[in-house]
Symmetry: C2
Subunit: 134 residues, 2 copies
Amino acid sequence: MEALFKEKKVRVTAFRRTVYEIFEKYKSAISVNFIESELKDFDRITLYRTLKMFKEKGIIHEITFPYKEKKLALCKEDCKDNTETHNHDHIHFHCNQCKEVYCVDIPNFPHLNLTNYQVDKIEIQAMGTCAKCA
Amino acid sequence: MEALFKEKKVRVTAFRRTVYEIFEKYKSAISVNFIESELKDFDRITLYRTLKMFKEKGIIHEITFPYKEKKLALCKEDCKDNTETHNHDHIHFHCNQCKEVYCVDIPNFPHLNLTNYQVDKIEIQAMGTCAKCA
DNA sequence: TATTAAATGCAATAATGTTGCAATACTAAG
DNA sequence: CTTAGTATTGCAACATTATTGCATTTAATA
Ligand SMILES: [Mn+2]
Ligand SMILES: [Mn+2]
Ligand SMILES: [Zn+2]
Ligand SMILES: [Zn+2]
């Protein structure tokens, strides 16, 4: 973490360390609500500011599924970029049973060719059943 | 609209007609905020309830892009289903220039095969530049 | 037209997210 | 080590988005 933060020119503080460690502890993507429940004593504003900064620095990224709660996950090597240019070659998987969301690497990330639209990047969200729940 | 609402067992009211017509008027997906700006005299609660019901009945569907405002669009023939089972064979395209979001039909909707995950359906969100802005 | 179930409008409240600002903590220069 | 300067935090206030309960109004249909 120290190395990553240094690279991103982000100061390591007690609060940021705690939040970062929550992301590390859970392999799946987590919601703001869940993070709050993991923190005992905390200031909500500082949390929002921390998460916003993590996103801007490309430390975490947002994952959205229609009709589902927004989730957050640590960036991988392929997507450590800021909010504007954030891009990744992995998909997001939502399990309908356990409701967990995972970042999943896939061998051949699909390429999309559209007439009338110039495609710069795509996001793929998959839904179904994860291995644990199958 | 009368036929659609009848099929969905939804009463046609003045307010619902107005909201539905806003969706018909704009070909692209629109935000709740935008709908509010199109309505002159309206009750916000009724609007939320109307949109919720439209979603549950499969009259409209949600479109989400990470870091972007949530949008709504009319369902097409292939996706007139409720929130839980909603499924479509079209993708969503977000133009980085004009910020519009479009539902776009594609000839061969990709199929995804994952080890460890049973995929029931996928959502594809594309970003880039639309024809108008190119 | 009368009956009845559904939809609406209003008030209250909850949940989520942001801004300004003073106090505090950290960093780096001298 | 001390100090000046900058970044972070915590608090209060506020903004935005969404939901619930309930009395009133409206629509469907018999
Ligand atoms: Mn991811
Ligand atoms: Mn669509
Ligand atoms: Zn699962
Ligand atoms: Zn455009």
